[in-house]
């Protein structure tokens, strides 16, 4: 590949968009409740598993019908609701009681790790309880076998989810901006992030804001996981342990205290993990004639980016004074 194809760029944008949504979710719960949620990637995998169950149990029967494409609309919505509800349960059952008991930030972080391990094991159990034939398809078969590509004139065949992911990420970014700047609830969320004590004494119920922020964080994770299911070479709960490092890298590159920064950081890290290794593999092949699959080491690049960004801008992309740079 000397020049990247449209399909390759689209799949890289899809990977970037998924990570943008995931990093934004981690940042949102960190900014509101100061909790670094290590269960976030497993929540996304829950969205992926929800999608696969919907696919296998309901939509597979419509393979040759236009209804089959409904999967790409129904699955992200169902996954968002399921994982959003799961995130709220996690907050109400585990995180809030610990915050009220005065648990330290490290203690809260470990609690999310504990929740992550429990959820990850539960997902494995759910998959094991499914009939063996289904488990085989879910765990081992390449999910892309289920996919149907759509022909787009002048472009060729593309998979719908690859268009949907950047589109959803863009809609979430615009929607979130309008929500935070134009609605009283959104403004109260910004106020609660800025100064929770003042928010309380002027009459804002910040507990309600925390619950909504955990729901939004879970819902976007479920949505991203649902569409990522089509990119994964077979779904396994263990995949969460690879994703979580990229999610946090995106969040930190963007700036851990900025929702917009997290969207940008996540997109940058996700698309770079998809593009750079492939380009390097191709370049190596061009120069030496032999092929090395650098994609296996893709996360190395996101952490190189992380270190570079932190060296230049310790507060991440959001901490850079862009206007000052433009004016020189």
């Amino acid at each position: 590949m000397v020049l990247p194809s449209f399909e390759f760029l689209l799949s890289s944008a899809a990977a970037g968009a998924a990570l943008a949504l995931l990093s934004m979710g981690v940042t949102l719960t960190y900014m509101t409740t100061r909790v670094s949620n290590f269960a976030h990637a497993t929540m996304a995998i829950t969205g992926a598993v929800t999608t696969l169950i919907l696919l296998d149990r309901i939509f597979a029967g419509f393979r040759d019908s236009p209804l089959y494409y409904g999967l790409f609309i129904v699955a992200p919505i169902v996954a968002a609701l399921v994982v959003g509800a799961l995130a709220v349960i996690m907050y109400l059952v585990a995180i809030r009681p610990l915050i009220r008991k005065g648990t330290s930030l490290i203690g809260l972080m470990i609690a999310t790790l504990a929740f992550d391990i429990i959820l990850n094991n539960l997902l494995t159990v759910v998959l094991q309880l499914t009939p063996a034939q289904t488990v085989g398809r879910l765990l081992e078969a390449n999910v892309k076998g289920y996919l149907v590509a759509i022909y787009v004139p002048l472009v060729g065949y593309i998979y719908p989810h690859r268009l949907l992911l950047p589109l959803i990420a863009l809609l979430v970014a615009v929607g979130l901006h309008l929500f935070l700047t134009r609605t009283p609830f959104g403004i109260s969320m910004r106020a609660s992030i800025e100064n929770p004590q003042l928010a309380k004494i002027i009459g804002i119920d910040i507990e309600r804001i925390y619950v909504v922020s955990w729901f939004l964080s879970g819902a976007t994770a479920g949505m991203a996981g649902s569409l990522l299911a089509f990119e994964m070479p077979g779904i396994s709960p263990a995949a969460a342990y690879l994703y979580i490092v990229s999610i946090f890298a995106g969040s930190i590159v963007g700036g851990i205290n900025s929702i917009y920064g997290a969207l940008a950081g996540g997109f940058l890290v996700g698309s770079m993990e998809a593009i750079v290794p492939v380009m390097l593999s191709d370049l190596y092949q061009l120069l030496t004639g032999s092929y090395v699959d650098i994609l296996r080491y893709q996360r190395m690049f996101s952490f190189l980016l992380l270190i570079l960004v932190l060296l230049v801008a310790p507060e991440g992309l959001a901490g850079i004074k862009w206007r000052g740079i433009r004016r020189g």
């Binding site: 009283p184 100064n195 003042l198």
Partner: protein, 235 residues
């Protein structure tokens, strides 16, 4: 209007205010004075529910509100202006004011905003500006305006003249007196500017090391030379 009975307050395990009782009468100004570190702010925080109340009661119009969360106390009629961090710098002036009326119908909030603009017209010219760009005096005006947005029965002000130029401080104390006389509000004031504050007050308390050393008429405290010399630097 506001009654505090044998209140013990602190943070975590630290006991700071001991067994304090007083009553703030309707349409009056009750001022708490005392040396620094005496527990004045902690007492207000305890009343509002952001410090730990170990024992005792807080009654608002006869209703026990001691253990209600702060946002409910605000909605029941207590407006509290903290000494520091009393505005949202990252929000615009209009967003700050709207947040201070959060939960009220928008038409009511807009009406209240027009009312506070009559007190502080300068804020009307700054509505779209981020609060962080306001001057110190304007920030204080915004903080007081936010306290008024819910049209509270009781207004608690923690050192509102702190950091203001003497002329602005004097003007602010006049406005606090007007809150009682014109707006018919009940004010609980903590103030370092002892003499000027006691002059506009009806009742007062002297709080020293978390304990009440005097509760009574403000004029009586002002004319008590022994207490004035010992604790307040007033001759």
């Amino acid at each position: 209007m506001l009654k505090v009975e044998s209140l013990n307050v602190g943070y975590g395990k630290f006991h700071i205010v001991f067994d304090v009782s007083f009553e703030v009468k309707e349409r009056s100004i009750f001022t708490i004075v005392g040396p620094n570190g005496g527990g004045k702010t902690t007492l207000l925080n305890g009343i509002m529910g952001i410090a730990t109340v170990f024992s005792g009661r807080v009654l608002l119009k006869g209703q026990d509100i001691t253990h209600l969360p702060p946002h409910q106390k605000a909605r029941l009629g207590i407006g509290y202006m903290a000494q520091t961090d009393n505005i949202f710098p990252g929000l615009t002036v209009i967003e700050n004011l709207l947040m201070a009326a959060y939960g009220l119908p928008e038409s009511v909030a807009r009406d209240r905003m027009e009312t506070v603009f009559t007190y502080y017209p300068v804020l009307k010219r700054r509505t779209g500006q981020k609060a962080r760009s306001l001057s110190g005096g304007e920030r204080q005006m915004l903080a007081i305006s936010m306290t008024l947005m819910r049209d509270p029965d009781v207004i608690m002000l923690d050192e509102p003249t702190s950091g203001l130029a003497p002329i602005l401080a004097k003007d602010l104390l006049k406005k606090i007196a007007a809150m009682r006389d014109e707006l018919k509000k009940t004010v609980l004031l903590v103030e370092q500017n002892v003499k000027a504050a006691l002059e506009i007050s009806d009742d007062a308390m002297l709080l020293v090391s978390g304990r009440s050393e005097f509760v009574g008429k403000a004029q009586a405290l002002l004319s008590d030379e022994a207490l004035g010399r010992k604790y307040l630097g007033v001759k």
